[in-house]
Protein backbone atom coordinates (compact mmCIF):
# COMPACT_ATOMS: atom_id res chain seq x y z
CA UNK A 1 0.00 0.00 0.00
CA UNK A 2 2.93 2.33 0.74
CA UNK A 3 4.03 3.05 -2.80
CA UNK A 4 0.63 3.45 -4.37
CA UNK A 5 -1.38 6.60 -4.61
CA UNK A 6 -3.43 7.02 -1.45
CA UNK A 7 -7.16 7.58 -1.78
CA UNK A 8 -9.44 9.18 0.75
CA UNK A 9 -10.60 5.77 1.95
CA UNK A 10 -7.00 4.85 2.74
CA UNK A 11 -6.71 7.88 4.98
CA UNK A 12 -9.97 6.97 6.72
CA UNK A 13 -8.59 3.48 7.28
CA UNK A 14 -5.37 4.98 8.68
CA UNK A 15 -7.33 7.12 11.15
CA UNK A 16 -9.61 4.26 12.21
CA UNK A 17 -6.61 2.01 12.59
CA UNK A 18 -4.69 4.53 14.71
CA UNK A 19 -7.67 5.30 16.97
CA UNK A 20 -9.32 1.90 17.37
CA UNK A 21 -7.45 -1.07 15.95
CA UNK A 22 -3.87 -0.20 16.86
CA UNK A 23 -4.68 2.22 19.68
CA UNK A 24 -1.36 3.52 20.94
CA UNK A 25 -2.36 2.92 24.57
CA UNK A 26 -4.60 -0.11 24.47
CA UNK A 27 -3.02 -2.20 21.71
CA UNK A 28 0.60 -1.06 21.77
CA UNK A 29 0.65 -0.19 25.49
CA UNK A 30 2.73 2.94 25.10
CA UNK A 31 2.27 5.97 27.38
CA UNK A 32 0.96 4.21 30.45
CA UNK A 33 2.43 6.70 32.91
CA UNK A 34 0.16 9.65 32.03
CA UNK A 35 -2.63 7.14 31.31
CA UNK A 36 -2.70 6.10 34.96
CA UNK A 37 -1.57 9.45 36.34
CA UNK A 38 -4.07 11.82 34.76
CA UNK A 39 -7.12 9.60 34.41
CA UNK A 40 -8.56 10.11 37.88
CA UNK A 41 -10.68 13.08 36.86
CA UNK A 42 -12.44 13.71 33.59
CA UNK A 43 -11.43 17.37 33.18
CA UNK A 44 -7.73 16.67 33.77
CA UNK A 45 -7.88 13.69 31.42
CA UNK A 46 -9.47 15.77 28.69
CA UNK A 47 -6.90 18.56 29.06
CA UNK A 48 -4.09 16.04 28.97
CA UNK A 49 -5.54 14.54 25.80
CA UNK A 50 -5.63 18.01 24.20
CA UNK A 51 -2.03 18.76 25.26
CA UNK A 52 -0.78 15.44 23.87
CA UNK A 53 -2.70 15.98 20.63
CA UNK A 54 -1.09 19.37 20.18
CA UNK A 55 2.42 18.17 21.01
CA UNK A 56 2.12 15.12 18.77
CA UNK A 57 0.51 17.10 15.96
CA UNK A 58 3.59 19.35 15.94
CA UNK A 59 6.38 16.90 16.72
CA UNK A 60 5.21 14.12 14.39
CA UNK A 61 5.68 16.13 11.17
CA UNK A 62 8.77 17.97 12.45
CA UNK A 63 10.59 14.78 13.42
CA UNK A 64 9.65 13.39 10.01
CA UNK A 65 11.25 16.43 8.35
CA UNK A 66 14.33 16.13 10.56
CA UNK A 67 14.62 12.47 9.65
CA UNK A 68 14.23 13.06 5.93
CA UNK A 69 16.25 16.26 5.41
CA UNK A 70 18.91 16.07 8.15
CA UNK A 71 19.48 12.58 9.47
CA UNK A 72 19.24 10.53 6.26
CA UNK A 73 21.32 12.84 3.98
CA UNK A 74 24.11 13.09 6.56
CA UNK A 75 23.87 9.41 7.52
CA UNK A 76 23.15 10.20 11.16
CA UNK A 77 20.38 7.72 11.87
CA UNK A 78 22.07 6.75 15.14
CA UNK A 79 21.16 10.23 16.43
CA UNK A 80 17.44 9.64 15.72
CA UNK A 81 16.36 9.17 19.36
CA UNK A 82 18.36 12.16 20.55
CA UNK A 83 17.03 14.48 17.85
CA UNK A 84 13.43 13.34 18.39
CA UNK A 85 13.55 13.73 22.15
CA UNK A 86 15.04 17.19 21.72
CA UNK A 87 12.17 18.19 19.42
CA UNK A 88 9.56 16.77 21.78
CA UNK A 89 11.11 18.48 24.81
CA UNK A 90 11.09 21.83 23.03
CA UNK A 91 7.43 21.51 22.06
CA UNK A 92 6.43 20.45 25.53
CA UNK A 93 8.14 23.57 26.85
CA UNK A 94 6.23 25.60 24.32
CA UNK A 95 2.89 24.06 25.28
CA UNK A 96 3.69 24.65 28.93
CA UNK A 97 4.31 28.34 28.31
CA UNK A 98 1.14 28.70 26.28
CA UNK A 99 -1.06 26.90 28.82
CA UNK A 100 0.45 28.90 31.67
CA UNK A 101 -0.38 32.10 29.84
CA UNK A 102 -3.88 31.04 28.83
CA UNK A 103 -5.20 29.02 31.77
CA UNK A 104 -3.62 29.03 35.23
CA UNK A 105 -6.05 26.47 36.73
CA UNK A 106 -5.41 24.07 33.83
CA UNK A 107 -1.66 24.61 34.27
CA UNK A 108 -1.95 23.62 37.93
CA UNK A 109 -4.30 20.70 37.22
CA UNK A 110 -1.89 19.14 34.73
CA UNK A 111 0.98 19.80 37.13
CA UNK A 112 3.85 17.36 36.76
CA UNK A 113 2.22 15.48 33.88
CA UNK A 114 2.73 18.34 31.46
CA UNK A 115 6.56 18.18 31.55
CA UNK A 116 6.19 14.40 31.60
CA UNK A 117 4.83 14.46 28.03
CA UNK A 118 8.53 14.88 27.20
CA UNK A 119 9.13 11.32 28.26
CA UNK A 120 5.71 10.09 27.14
CA UNK A 121 6.56 7.04 25.08
CA UNK A 122 3.28 7.37 23.16
CA UNK A 123 4.66 10.57 21.63
CA UNK A 124 8.12 9.23 20.87
CA UNK A 125 6.62 5.91 19.77
CA UNK A 126 4.34 7.59 17.24
CA UNK A 127 7.27 9.56 15.83
CA UNK A 128 9.17 6.31 15.34
CA UNK A 129 6.13 4.58 13.86
CA UNK A 130 5.84 7.36 11.24
CA UNK A 131 9.37 6.51 10.12
CA UNK A 132 9.00 2.75 10.40
CA UNK A 133 5.78 2.67 8.35
CA UNK A 134 7.51 4.78 5.65
CA UNK A 135 4.69 7.34 5.67
CA UNK A 136 4.91 10.41 3.47
CA UNK A 137 4.46 13.88 4.96
CA UNK A 138 0.66 14.03 4.71
CA UNK A 139 0.26 10.52 6.08
CA UNK A 140 2.59 11.46 8.94
CA UNK A 141 0.42 14.44 9.90
CA UNK A 142 -2.77 12.33 9.73
CA UNK A 143 -1.29 9.42 11.64
CA UNK A 144 0.24 11.64 14.35
CA UNK A 145 -3.01 13.45 15.07
CA UNK A 146 -5.09 10.25 14.86
CA UNK A 147 -2.69 8.44 17.16
CA UNK A 148 -2.94 11.27 19.69
CA UNK A 149 -6.74 11.15 19.40
CA UNK A 150 -6.59 7.43 20.13
CA UNK A 151 -4.54 8.24 23.20
CA UNK A 152 -7.12 10.87 24.20
CA UNK A 153 -10.04 8.50 23.64
CA UNK A 154 -8.46 5.82 25.85
CA UNK A 155 -7.67 8.41 28.51
CA UNK A 156 -11.22 9.79 28.54
CA UNK A 157 -12.77 6.28 28.68
CA UNK A 158 -10.46 5.41 31.55
CA UNK A 159 -11.28 8.64 33.43
CA UNK A 160 -15.00 7.95 33.01
CA UNK A 161 -14.57 4.55 34.60
CA UNK A 162 -12.19 5.67 37.32
CA UNK A 163 -14.49 8.48 38.45
CA UNK A 164 -16.97 5.75 39.35
CA UNK A 165 -14.39 3.90 41.45
CA UNK A 166 -15.22 6.30 44.29
CA UNK A 167 -18.50 4.50 44.80
CA UNK A 168 -17.31 0.98 44.06
CA UNK A 169 -16.40 -1.52 46.71
CA UNK A 170 -12.86 -2.37 45.68
CA UNK A 171 -10.92 -4.76 47.91
CA UNK A 172 -8.17 -2.91 49.74
CA UNK A 173 -5.30 -4.68 47.95
CA UNK A 174 -6.68 -3.71 44.55
CA UNK A 175 -7.30 -0.05 45.21
CA UNK A 176 -5.87 2.83 43.14
CA UNK A 177 -3.14 1.82 40.68
CA UNK A 178 -3.79 -1.93 40.79
CA UNK A 179 -7.42 -1.65 39.78
CA UNK A 180 -6.32 1.00 37.27
CA UNK A 181 -3.98 -1.46 35.57
CA UNK A 182 -6.60 -4.21 35.63
CA UNK A 183 -9.13 -1.82 34.09
CA UNK A 184 -6.59 -0.77 31.45
CA UNK A 185 -6.08 -4.43 30.56
CA UNK A 186 -9.81 -5.05 30.29
CA UNK A 187 -10.35 -1.97 28.08
CA UNK A 188 -7.42 -3.18 26.00
CA UNK A 189 -9.06 -6.59 25.63
CA UNK A 190 -12.34 -5.05 24.53
CA UNK A 191 -10.46 -2.91 21.99
CA UNK A 192 -9.10 -6.12 20.50
CA UNK A 193 -12.60 -6.60 19.11
CA UNK A 194 -11.81 -3.80 16.65
CA UNK A 195 -9.20 -6.07 15.06
CA UNK A 196 -12.12 -7.54 13.13
CA UNK A 197 -12.46 -4.21 11.29
CA UNK A 198 -9.17 -4.78 9.47
CA UNK A 199 -9.19 -7.29 6.66
Amino acid sequence: MHHEVWHFSDYVMLVVSAIFINNILLARFLGNCPFLGTSKRMDTAFSMACAVTFVLGCTGPITWLIEKYLLIPYDLLYLETLAFILTIAVFVQLVEMVIRKISQPLYRALGIYLPLITTNCAVLGTCFLNIKEKFNFIQTIVFSVASAMGFGLALVIMAGIRERFNFARIPKNFQDTSIGLITAGLIGLSFFAFQGLAK
Binding site: Y74, L82, V90, V98, R100, K101, N166, F167
Partner: protein, 270 residues
Protein backbone atom coordinates in the same frame (compact mmCIF):
# COMPACT_ATOMS: atom_id res chain seq x y z
CA UNK B 1 38.69 13.31 5.29
CA UNK B 2 35.19 12.27 4.33
CA UNK B 3 35.14 9.80 7.25
CA UNK B 4 36.15 12.45 9.77
CA UNK B 5 33.50 14.83 8.43
CA UNK B 6 30.81 12.17 8.67
CA UNK B 7 31.81 11.01 12.11
CA UNK B 8 32.35 14.34 13.86
CA UNK B 9 31.54 17.54 11.98
CA UNK B 10 28.13 16.62 10.58
CA UNK B 11 26.65 15.26 13.81
CA UNK B 12 27.87 18.29 15.75
CA UNK B 13 26.58 20.69 13.11
CA UNK B 14 23.22 18.97 12.72
CA UNK B 15 22.48 18.58 16.42
CA UNK B 16 23.99 21.96 17.28
CA UNK B 17 22.02 23.61 14.51
CA UNK B 18 18.79 21.96 15.62
CA UNK B 19 19.43 22.99 19.22
CA UNK B 20 20.22 26.57 18.16
CA UNK B 21 17.02 26.86 16.11
CA UNK B 22 14.93 25.46 18.98
CA UNK B 23 16.70 27.70 21.50
CA UNK B 24 15.86 30.82 19.50
CA UNK B 25 12.26 29.61 19.13
CA UNK B 26 11.86 29.01 22.85
CA UNK B 27 13.56 32.32 23.63
CA UNK B 28 11.05 34.19 21.48
CA UNK B 29 8.15 32.19 22.92
CA UNK B 30 9.18 32.88 26.50
CA UNK B 31 8.98 36.61 25.70
CA UNK B 32 5.66 36.35 23.92
CA UNK B 33 4.04 34.14 26.58
CA UNK B 34 5.72 35.75 29.57
CA UNK B 35 3.53 35.60 32.68
CA UNK B 36 4.28 38.11 35.39
CA UNK B 37 4.18 36.45 38.77
CA UNK B 38 4.24 38.50 41.92
CA UNK B 39 7.06 37.02 44.06
CA UNK B 40 5.00 37.74 47.17
CA UNK B 41 2.37 35.18 46.05
CA UNK B 42 4.97 32.42 46.27
CA UNK B 43 6.13 33.72 49.68
CA UNK B 44 2.58 33.78 51.06
CA UNK B 45 1.83 30.35 49.60
CA UNK B 46 4.82 28.93 51.47
CA UNK B 47 3.43 30.29 54.74
CA UNK B 48 0.04 28.63 54.19
CA UNK B 49 -0.45 25.02 55.32
CA UNK B 50 -0.58 23.57 51.81
CA UNK B 51 -3.43 21.16 52.59
CA UNK B 52 -5.58 22.66 49.78
CA UNK B 53 -8.63 22.09 52.00
CA UNK B 54 -10.65 24.84 50.34
CA UNK B 55 -11.86 26.22 53.68
CA UNK B 56 -11.03 29.75 52.54
CA UNK B 57 -13.37 29.44 49.56
CA UNK B 58 -10.58 29.43 46.96
CA UNK B 59 -9.47 26.54 44.74
CA UNK B 60 -6.41 25.82 46.85
CA UNK B 61 -3.59 27.39 48.84
CA UNK B 62 -1.97 28.88 45.71
CA UNK B 63 -5.25 30.54 44.73
CA UNK B 64 -5.80 31.81 48.26
CA UNK B 65 -2.25 33.24 48.41
CA UNK B 66 -2.83 35.08 45.13
CA UNK B 67 -6.12 36.50 46.46
CA UNK B 68 -4.44 37.65 49.68
CA UNK B 69 -1.65 39.41 47.78
CA UNK B 70 -4.14 41.07 45.40
CA UNK B 71 -6.03 42.32 48.44
CA UNK B 72 -9.22 40.44 47.57
CA UNK B 73 -8.94 38.28 50.69
CA UNK B 74 -7.92 39.35 54.20
CA UNK B 75 -4.53 38.22 55.52
CA UNK B 76 -6.35 35.80 57.81
CA UNK B 77 -8.37 34.28 54.96
CA UNK B 78 -6.86 30.86 55.63
CA UNK B 79 -9.00 29.29 58.32
CA UNK B 80 -6.53 26.49 58.90
CA UNK B 81 -3.53 28.59 59.94
CA UNK B 82 -2.59 29.58 63.50
CA UNK B 83 -2.46 33.35 64.34
CA UNK B 84 1.35 33.47 64.00
CA UNK B 85 0.97 32.79 60.29
CA UNK B 86 -1.44 35.73 59.87
CA UNK B 87 1.13 38.00 61.49
CA UNK B 88 3.88 36.74 59.20
CA UNK B 89 1.70 37.29 56.12
CA UNK B 90 0.65 40.72 57.37
CA UNK B 91 4.29 41.67 57.93
CA UNK B 92 5.19 40.48 54.45
CA UNK B 93 2.47 42.57 52.84
CA UNK B 94 2.67 45.55 55.22
CA UNK B 95 -0.88 45.04 56.50
CA UNK B 96 -2.42 44.47 59.91
CA UNK B 97 -4.37 41.45 61.12
CA UNK B 98 -7.99 41.87 62.05
CA UNK B 99 -8.89 39.69 65.02
CA UNK B 100 -11.05 36.70 64.17
CA UNK B 101 -12.39 34.12 66.57
CA UNK B 102 -11.02 30.68 65.62
CA UNK B 103 -13.64 28.04 64.85
CA UNK B 104 -13.75 24.32 65.40
CA UNK B 105 -16.02 21.65 64.01
CA UNK B 106 -18.50 19.86 66.23
CA UNK B 107 -20.59 16.83 65.31
CA UNK B 108 -24.17 17.94 65.99
CA UNK B 109 -25.65 14.52 66.65
CA UNK B 110 -25.73 12.15 69.61
CA UNK B 111 -28.05 9.64 67.98
CA UNK B 112 -26.01 6.50 68.47
CA UNK B 113 -27.25 3.11 67.29
CA UNK B 114 -29.10 2.40 70.58
CA UNK B 115 -30.60 5.89 70.88
CA UNK B 116 -31.78 6.69 67.36
CA UNK B 117 -34.12 4.32 65.55
CA UNK B 118 -33.08 2.58 62.34
CA UNK B 119 -35.51 2.04 59.46
CA UNK B 120 -33.61 -0.73 57.67
CA UNK B 121 -30.21 -2.34 57.57
CA UNK B 122 -27.93 -0.54 55.13
CA UNK B 123 -25.38 -2.89 53.60
CA UNK B 124 -24.09 -0.72 50.75
CA UNK B 125 -20.93 1.24 50.17
CA UNK B 126 -19.21 2.59 53.29
CA UNK B 127 -19.79 6.22 52.46
CA UNK B 128 -22.46 8.56 53.85
CA UNK B 129 -22.88 10.24 50.46
CA UNK B 130 -23.76 6.86 48.94
CA UNK B 131 -25.95 5.89 51.91
CA UNK B 132 -28.26 8.91 51.60
CA UNK B 133 -29.01 7.84 48.05
CA UNK B 134 -30.67 4.66 49.34
CA UNK B 135 -34.13 5.79 50.46
CA UNK B 136 -32.62 8.79 52.21
CA UNK B 137 -30.42 6.85 54.63
CA UNK B 138 -31.01 4.08 57.15
CA UNK B 139 -31.89 6.28 60.14
CA UNK B 140 -35.45 7.28 60.96
CA UNK B 141 -34.02 10.74 61.63
CA UNK B 142 -33.41 12.51 58.33
CA UNK B 143 -30.98 14.98 59.90
CA UNK B 144 -28.74 12.72 61.97
CA UNK B 145 -25.26 11.31 61.53
CA UNK B 146 -25.17 8.18 59.36
CA UNK B 147 -21.91 7.11 60.98
CA UNK B 148 -20.11 5.81 57.90
CA UNK B 149 -17.25 8.23 58.40
CA UNK B 150 -17.14 10.27 55.19
CA UNK B 151 -16.03 13.28 57.25
CA UNK B 152 -13.38 11.20 59.02
CA UNK B 153 -11.95 10.05 55.69
CA UNK B 154 -11.95 13.50 54.14
CA UNK B 155 -10.52 15.58 57.02
CA UNK B 156 -7.24 16.95 55.61
CA UNK B 157 -5.77 17.39 59.09
CA UNK B 158 -6.67 14.01 60.61
CA UNK B 159 -8.71 15.74 63.28
CA UNK B 160 -11.67 13.37 63.16
CA UNK B 161 -11.93 9.80 64.32
CA UNK B 162 -14.88 7.45 64.47
CA UNK B 163 -16.12 7.04 68.03
CA UNK B 164 -16.98 3.62 69.39
CA UNK B 165 -20.68 4.48 69.34
CA UNK B 166 -20.66 5.25 65.60
CA UNK B 167 -20.57 9.03 65.89
CA UNK B 168 -17.33 10.78 64.83
CA UNK B 169 -15.30 12.67 67.44
CA UNK B 170 -13.43 15.92 66.74
CA UNK B 171 -9.90 16.30 68.06
CA UNK B 172 -10.05 19.98 68.96
CA UNK B 173 -6.25 20.30 69.05
CA UNK B 174 -5.93 19.18 65.44
CA UNK B 175 -9.12 20.78 64.06
CA UNK B 176 -8.36 23.99 62.18
CA UNK B 177 -11.95 24.91 61.36
CA UNK B 178 -11.39 24.49 57.62
CA UNK B 179 -14.95 23.22 57.18
CA UNK B 180 -14.15 20.30 54.86
CA UNK B 181 -16.28 17.96 56.99
CA UNK B 182 -19.17 20.43 56.81
CA UNK B 183 -18.98 20.39 53.03
CA UNK B 184 -18.67 16.63 52.52
CA UNK B 185 -21.40 15.57 54.97
CA UNK B 186 -24.57 14.97 52.97
CA UNK B 187 -26.64 16.05 55.97
CA UNK B 188 -24.51 18.90 57.31
CA UNK B 189 -24.15 17.26 60.71
CA UNK B 190 -20.71 18.74 61.51
CA UNK B 191 -21.00 22.46 62.16
CA UNK B 192 -18.38 25.12 62.78
CA UNK B 193 -18.74 26.80 66.16
CA UNK B 194 -16.54 29.40 67.90
CA UNK B 195 -13.69 27.59 69.67
CA UNK B 196 -14.69 29.22 72.98
CA UNK B 197 -18.35 28.16 72.85
CA UNK B 198 -19.02 25.88 75.81
CA UNK B 199 -22.73 25.13 75.67
CA UNK B 200 -24.15 23.73 72.45
CA UNK B 201 -27.35 22.02 71.36
CA UNK B 202 -25.90 18.77 70.01
CA UNK B 203 -28.63 17.94 67.50
CA UNK B 204 -29.37 18.72 63.90
CA UNK B 205 -33.05 17.69 63.72
CA UNK B 206 -35.64 20.19 62.55
CA UNK B 207 -38.69 17.91 62.95
CA UNK B 208 -41.60 18.87 65.20
CA UNK B 209 -41.50 17.60 68.85
CA UNK B 210 -43.81 14.53 68.42
CA UNK B 211 -41.78 13.23 65.47
CA UNK B 212 -38.42 13.63 67.23
CA UNK B 213 -39.82 11.93 70.34
CA UNK B 214 -40.73 8.87 68.28
CA UNK B 215 -37.43 8.48 66.43
CA UNK B 216 -34.62 9.54 68.80
CA UNK B 217 -34.11 9.47 72.55
CA UNK B 218 -31.52 12.24 72.60
CA UNK B 219 -32.67 14.64 69.87
CA UNK B 220 -33.68 18.26 70.42
CA UNK B 221 -37.48 18.32 70.42
CA UNK B 222 -37.71 22.02 69.80
CA UNK B 223 -40.00 22.24 72.84
CA UNK B 224 -38.59 25.59 73.94
CA UNK B 225 -38.10 24.78 77.65
CA UNK B 226 -34.47 25.89 77.41
CA UNK B 227 -35.57 29.19 75.94
CA UNK B 228 -38.00 29.73 78.84
CA UNK B 229 -35.52 28.91 81.61
CA UNK B 230 -32.56 30.86 80.21
CA UNK B 231 -32.14 34.03 82.30
CA UNK B 232 -29.90 35.65 79.70
CA UNK B 233 -32.23 35.05 76.72
CA UNK B 234 -29.30 33.38 74.97
CA UNK B 235 -31.38 30.60 73.38
CA UNK B 236 -33.55 30.84 70.28
CA UNK B 237 -35.70 28.10 68.77
CA UNK B 238 -35.03 28.12 65.04
CA UNK B 239 -37.25 25.77 63.06
CA UNK B 240 -37.76 23.34 65.98
CA UNK B 241 -34.08 23.34 66.94
CA UNK B 242 -32.63 25.29 69.84
CA UNK B 243 -29.61 27.48 69.11
CA UNK B 244 -27.34 28.85 71.84
CA UNK B 245 -25.84 32.31 71.37
CA UNK B 246 -22.39 32.00 72.99
CA UNK B 247 -21.97 35.77 73.30
CA UNK B 248 -24.94 35.96 75.71
CA UNK B 249 -24.57 32.62 77.53
CA UNK B 250 -23.13 32.91 81.03
CA UNK B 251 -22.83 29.15 81.69
CA UNK B 252 -25.52 29.07 84.40
CA UNK B 253 -26.41 25.55 83.24
CA UNK B 254 -30.22 25.87 83.74
CA UNK B 255 -30.96 24.78 80.17
CA UNK B 256 -28.82 21.66 80.59
CA UNK B 257 -30.73 20.74 83.78
CA UNK B 258 -34.15 21.23 82.24
CA UNK B 259 -33.65 19.80 78.75
CA UNK B 260 -35.94 16.72 78.61
CA UNK B 261 -33.68 14.78 76.21
CA UNK B 262 -30.26 16.07 77.21
CA UNK B 263 -29.67 17.54 73.77
CA UNK B 264 -28.07 20.65 75.25
CA UNK B 265 -24.56 19.76 76.27
CA UNK B 266 -21.64 21.43 77.94
CA UNK B 267 -18.80 20.44 75.59
CA UNK B 268 -15.97 22.29 77.37
CA UNK B 269 -15.34 22.59 81.11
CA UNK B 270 -16.60 25.92 82.47
Amino acid sequence: MEGILGATVYPVLVMGGLAAVFAVMLGVASRVFYVEVDPRIKAVEELLPGANCGGCGYAGCADCAAAIVRGEAPVNACVASPPEVYEKIAKLLGKTVEAKEPQVAHIMCRGTKDKAKIRFRYMGIEDCRAAVLVAGGDKECLYGCLGLGTCVKSCPFGALRMGENGIPVVDRDKCTGCGTCVRVCPRGVPKLIPASQKIVTVCNNHDAPPTVKKICEVGCLGCGICKKVCPEKAIEIVNFLSVVDPSKCNLCGKCIEKCPTGAIQQILPG
